[in-house]
């Protein structure tokens, strides 16, 4: 009897702890959802209203129709192009390192070290150079800049997938008359496509979430969602409801993608420093 009570108490404590953690993690998101359905009178009410009494879609209408979709499109275009470019250059690189250097050696470390550089050290020269060649406020500029830190990351993550892939399958294809290149394209890539998708999703999320480069290297034409969000912080009256609506619209795709890569989260977020 005593033993059972102890087990019960332990279980209650565990679930209470997890419930508390879930509340802490999700409350800010819930508050944003709630704010996105409040009209201006309601989000400027004292004491604050927890659940909107007269829920309204006006904020979403403002974001989707009045404010224009320019920056949503910019984020989408920049992140997609960047993901494509990064996969294009990092798949052969990761393959080469995995096959010819056994996935080790100084090259992957050198690539990874790119990721450690404080961005502020790179952005000053990039800003000056891009200003000279007219790349400020263009999609191309940001796609290029994002491709470095994402390429370093993608190579690193992909090496793992290539190393795990059995060499024998590839060799069998080469015996049957494939060249190394066609064995890679026809045999290896289709079989490790889950790994490529995971890498692509991470690159996409990272470029969507990036702020510092976007802030400095864009003005109006190529402005991304992150920069647009920070622009809501007007000195006088902040449009919290409209801002919340944009936040919700921009995090729904990210949320879905996160669910898709959940198994690889640790590996991705620590650049393979920790195996998930």
């Amino acid at each position: 009897m005593r033993k059972r009570t102890q087990v019960l108490i332990k279980a209650v404590l565990i679930y209470a702890g997890l419930a508390l953690a879930l509340f802490a993690a999700l409350f800010p998101i819930a508050w944003t959802v709630s704010t996105s359905f409040k009209h201006i009178g309601e989000y400027y009410t004292y004491p604050p209203v927890w659940v909107p009494r007269e829920p309204t879609l006006a904020n979403y209408q403002y974001i989707l129709y009045t404010a224009g979709l320019g920056y949503l499109r910019n984020s989408l275009v920049i992140s997609s192009l960047n993901t494509l470019l990064v996969l294009l250059v990092s798949i052969p690189a990761a393959y080469g390192i995995a096959r010819f250097w056994g996935g080790r050696g100084s090259l992957p470390f050198w690539i990874l070290s790119q990721r450690m550089f404080p961005p502020i050290a790179v952005i000053i020269p990039l800003f000056l150079l891009m200003r000279r060649v007219g790349l400020i406020d263009t999609h191309l500029g940001l796609v290029g800049v994002y491709s470095t830190f994402n390429a370093a990351f993608a190579v690193w993550l992909l090496i793992g997938f290539f190393v795990e892939f059995p060499k024998e399958i590839e060799e069998a294809a080469m015996v049957d008359g494939c060249t190394r290149g066609s064995a890679l394209v026809r045999i290896v890539l289709p079989l490790i496509s889950p790994g490529i998708v995971v890498t692509g999703i991470f690159c996409f999320i990272f470029s969507c979430n990036e702020f510092l480069f976007a802030l400095i290297l864009t003005r109006e034409a190529a402005r991304t969602v992150s920069v647009q969000l920070s622009a809501f912080l007007a000195p006088t009256r902040i449009l919290w409801g409209e801002m919340s609506a944009l936040i919700i619209i921009s995090i729904i795709p990210i949320f879905i993608m996160t669910m898709a890569v959940q198994k690889y989260l640790v590996k991705g977020l620590t650049f393979g420093a920790v195996k998930g």
Binding site: I14, G17, L18, A21, L22, A25, F27, P28, I29, T35, Y43, Y44, T45, Y46, P48, W50, V89, S90, A93, G96, I111, Q114, M116, F117, P118, P119, I120, A121, V122, I124, P125, L128, S147, T148, A151, I205, C208, N209, F211, L212, S226, L229, S230, F232, L233, W240, M243, I247, S250, I254, T258, M259, Q262, L265, V266, T270, F271, A273, V274, K275
Partner: protein
């Protein structure tokens, strides 16, 4: 085929990535290094005037804001990483067992990491509002007379930044520790039990030592991130009040892109780079297995 030819045929796979990294990282870093030895002020035309080591001397000995921003980074990063480790470790231990709905709970707990820091900062800025924010409203529900200006008070603002950082990054620590826990073989615990170890002893003599590597790795990653800390500061406090939350990366940004002193900003960014490399080397040494 000669050795060189084989080497070349292999090298062509890696070449595109190396080219990109050269153009977008190595070249700018070299450019930035040379820039740091010049005065280059964009407000006065941006001509390069040779300065020798003036910028470095200025930053290290005559600019108190460099030192105070390093101190601020430490005052925010230290407690923040400590809390992340404590909470992350606790949550990982709670999750390391058969729990109903475990994978759903983990997906939900992880969302703060995947949302951009900008969005996280904006959410918390709403919550911190002294009149319309939810945090003071909670405190008032508990019976406190909370009209606290979380982002305008000298000490509360530091706490506010720490809490936001903890909210964003604790799930990462949790996931890393959990992955570490799952890689510890069960036999270790079984033999410890046979040898008569209590569960506390098993934890401190088996679990913690085996978690050392993942914990060091995640602390290193979080330290490098803290040195880069910019987004949250930008939307929460803009370095205020009175420069209390001005981190080193934020200060470098102000010098470069608000005051437009590019040469000086380049010098500060090189100091940041050197600190980062030093920290990384110390940690990699700590992580290397000891030769017995």
């Amino acid at each position: 085929m000669t050795v060189w030819k084989i080497y070349l045929s292999r090298f062509k796979y890696v070449l595109p990535v190396i080219l990109i990294l050269l153009v977008i990282t190595i070249f700018p870093l070299v450019y930035s290094l040379s820039l740091s030895f010049f005065h280059c002020d964009l407000r006065t035309g941006g001509r390069w005037i040779f300065a020798g080591v003036d910028n470095y001397v200025q930053a290290l000995f005559h600019d108190s804001r460099v030192w105070s921003s390093f101190r601020n980074t430490l005052m925010i990063g230290g407690p923040s990483i400590g809390l992340q480790l404590l909470i992350g470790l606790g949550l990982a231990i709670l999750l390391h067992r058969n729990i109903y709905g475990k994978s759903v709970i983990i997906s939900l707990l992880v969302t703060p990491v995947m949302i951009s820091p900008i969005v996280a900062g904006l959410k918390w800025r709403m919550l911190y509002h002294e009149k319309y924010g939810a945090i003071n409203a909670f405190l008032r529900m508990l019976g406190l007379d909370a009209q606290w200006a979380w982002l305008a008070d000298r000490n509360l603002a530091v706490l506010a930044v720490i809490f936001t950082d903890v909210w964003v990054w604790t799930p990462l620590v949790m996931m890393v520790v959990l992955a570490g826990l799952q890689s510890i073989p069960l036999e270790c615990y079984e033999s410890a039990k046979i040898d008569g170890a209590s569960s506390f002893q098993a934890f401190s003599y088996i679990t913690l030592p085996l978690l050392k590597l993942p914990i060091l790795a995640v602390v290193l990653i979080r330290m490098i991130d803290t040195i880069k800390l910019f987004d949250i500061i930008y939307v929460l406090t803009m370095g205020g009040p009175g420069g209390r939350t001005e981190t080193i990366s934020f200060y470098a940004y102000l010098v470069g892109f608000r005051h437009f002193r590019m040469g000086y900003a380049a010098a500060i960014s090189y100091i940041i780079l050197i600190v980062t490399i030093a920290l990384t080397m110390i940690f990699i040494r700590l992580m290397r297995p000891k030769e017995a």
